[in-house]
Subunit: 461 residues, 2 copies
């Protein structure tokens, strides 16, 4: 029958996967790893002295956790340094504002930049403005982000951060202030990367905390011009070479094939990078370690990649692609954890159609963790984008991001926010997924025409 | 009969009080006042340029609200200025710490102060320490505060802030870091006043945010010495004269007698002083304005006092006493709102026993607002302490402080945290209380022997 031809996991593997699922959540290893990273390294912005210490920490941690191979792959990128960042309302009612520079922002002059504020509700509203509304002013974009499990309001909000500097400058603005891309009301601004464009004047750009944005709105509502002074000392620095730090547990039958899991090792500088992305590093390291420690059979290798400099432009993921694109077929499946501590609520895939029965079986095995079945359009993992474009098979273990943007890119991204129950469930989900993928009876389609063409079609959209 | 001799409010007054109770809560006036103060003045630390602007704002607001008399009474005090405030862990794992100087702290040297940390769970544990444990070190007191409606854990926690610098210095410490006196886990330190003592070396003192305190605890748990460097630029300044700003609505029968309500006009500098104590100023101004606007009969005057410099040592309250102690009998009753936005959950009193039937009637009238009856030992209102010691009758409209210490003395004390429903209930409670007290059929005992002796007995305890 047709059914008989469908691929499936061996009974022994499925049984062992259920055991992993039921036992890996009781392991506090991932908590210990995040605690170690946030305490012993702390903030580790790409290109800083702490970046180098994080690389050493990661190597030592992989070794201590018993990984068979640990190595570094260089990743080179331009650096950016934060400096002084202060702002104040100059008139009509002087008071300080709490801001943080957007990543990549140029500095203001040392004396600071003073200009009238012009408010827009969104990047689209700014784009629709006339130059005479904006010319010589500081643009203030007040897009409020709402909280959702899947973080779906991040994209529409973060566009003001990424493209705001260029769009504002095109209309003659002298600076940009955005309402922080976040979902809480604490006086804690969110940093994050922004971009300039060749041929468009670079203007200094910063984020206001939510209460400061509300204050500006209230002051502007009185109908009189509001003048703000902002002073940023941030600036670009020299090129730097950091490393993707890689730990591998060697598979027994097909050691050159591997499941690729991981997170990014760098963080922003304001917090200690606990949820972004200490959690992602920790759950994937702990998942692999759990499988090795319990001597579970692994047909293929497990490769945990802690990517360098995700935050400032996906440098680690892109250079992983530069180095490994030719052997994309060796990657049986990939999954990156970079959306906080979890729990995982859905498993979706991006595999060739013939492998979908395997995905269904994986979803059934993982269901008792509270994980639903997703579709076959998984696109998760910023550091996997480059390899996804090469036709890599991937899975998304969807992390519950309801409170992720309360912490993300702020000073509040610290270890005390991590809840053991949530992190342990995520680690268990990763362990189960990784175990099954490593023992899959067939390819999920990495590098084969279906996934290569799918990626091509998406890029051309 | 005995019952017939008991004092009671006239039927007409009791009926009108019920009307006030039921209508004043629908009035958004107090919200508008806090919005105005936080937007048009913002932070207004005593002795700063913004203190002077707050005084002008308050005078203008009283006039705009239709108060019959508005005047200033000078209050003179020494000033203190915040400066740079940074800290970092130097070893074994370098990373920045988020701190804020305690009010009154001396500066460190410009190069900063580096020393090993010694941790104590509480001020009492510090007091029990031996000099050799502390000498040459920075004391770190990690007392965690718990949240309660009545804020009862504030006293036991805040002692480390007030007395920590002296107790640590007595044992040879070179600096003090306390876990912030607060009930949240955001990376936002709490400032607040601290004291030095003649004959004991002054040492620099600051508060760590809760996540930073947790980080230090985790690092210290590894068993190796932890060295911290802190740099404070805070310092004392010259004497300054601010003002208690007073607005009065004139009573018809006994205009020289008055109900004293109010809050403190100054705030700390980190937030905009919304819950501490914009809320208290606003609800008392709004309560009096409501009674005047609706032309409710007022036998006695209503005096709203916005006290100067509560935060740095009760200067406004003490100098109000210096000026008005002799006429304490004119104050029919007093109540200060300085515990956040409410709601009010209890009415307690401090009156002569003969007046207790009136208090009971006030409690009955206010009960539908969700207000329970308290005892006769009310001691609320920091700016009323001095006059309380002179035998002033007072009431406490107990404010629900469950979340007050999430915001109090932090950058997060901003207008967006105020909920209209809570503030309106508080304003309604104040309006009802004030109306009844202004129309009381007899004295509550201000300046009479019962309250004078009670205060004396308490001071001698
Ligand atoms: Zn991330
Ligand atoms: Zn990030
Ligand atoms: Zn206060
Ligand atoms: Zn206060």
């Amino acid at each position: 029958s047709v059914t008989a031809a469908e691929p499936e996991f061996a009974k022994d593997i499925a049984d062992k996967a259920a055991w992993v699922r039921d036992h890996a959540a009781d392991d506090n290893k991932s908590m210990a790893i995040v605690e170690s990273l946030t305490t012993e390294v702390g903030p580790r912005m790409a290109g800083t002295e702490a970046d180098a210490r994080a690389v050493i920490w990661a190597q030592n941690k992989f070794k201590a956790l018993g990984f068979d191979k640990v190595w570094l792959e260089p990743v080179t990128f331009p650096t950016w340094k934060r400096g002084v960042e202060v702002a104040e309302i100059v008139s009509p009612f002087p008071q300080p504002l709490v801001i943080t520079a957007l990543g990549n922002s140029i500095p203001t002059s040392e004396q600071g930049l003073s200009a009238e504020i012009v408010q827009f509700a969104s990047l689209d509203d700014l784009k629709a403005a006339k130059p005479e509304q904006v010319n010589g002013k500081i643009v203030f974009i007040n897009r409020k982000m709402t909280a959702h499990r899947d973080g779906r309001d991040y994209g529409p909000t973060v566009s003001a951060r990424g493209d705001g500097p260029v769009e504002a400058a095109k209309l003659g603005a002298v600076g940009l202030l955005i309402r922080s891309v976040g979902t809480h009301n604490h006086r804690m601004p969110h940093t994050g990367n922004s971009r300039y464009k060749e041929g468009v004047t670079k203007i200094p750009a910063a984020a206001l905390s939510a209460p400061d944005a509300d204050l500006l709105v209230n002051m502007l509502a009185r109908g009189n011009p509001v003048t703000v002074k902002m002073t940023l000392g941030s600036q670009p620095g020299p090129m730097y070479t950091s490393h993707n730090v890689i730990g591998e547990i060697t598979g027994s039958e097909l050691p050159n094939e591997y499941v690729l899991i991981g997170g990014h090792l760098d963080s922003w500088d304001l917090g200690t990078g606990a949820v972004d992305d200490g959690a992602g590093c920790a759950v994937t390291m702990a998942a692999a370690e759990f499988l090795a420690r319990h001597k579970l059979p692994l047909k293929r290798s497990i490769r945990v990649v802690l990517f360098a400099n995700e935050e400032q432009g996906l440098w680690g993921g892109n250079q992983y692609r530069d180095r490994h694109a030719k052997s994309v077929k060796n990657i049986i499946a990939a999954a990156e954890a970079d959306f906080g501590q979890g729990p995982v609520y859905m498993l979706s895939s991006r595999v060739k159609p013939e492998a979908l029965p395997l995905v269904k079986q994986m979803q059934q095995i993982m269901a008792p963790l509270g994980i639903e079945a997703g579709d076959n359009n998984a696109s998760n993992g910023p550091d996997l984008i480059a390899m996804r474009n090469e036709g890599m098979a991937l899975f998304s273990l969807h992390l519950d991001g309801t409170d992720y943007f309360d912490l993300h890119h702020t000073a509040d991204d610290t270890f005390d926010k991590i809840e053991a129950k949530r992190l342990n469930q995520t680690a268990a989900a990763y362990a189960t997924f990784t175990f099954l993928a490593a023992n899959a009876p067939m390819s999920f389609g990495s590098g084969e025409s279906y996934l290569v063409e799918k990626a091509k079609a998406e890029r051309n959209k």
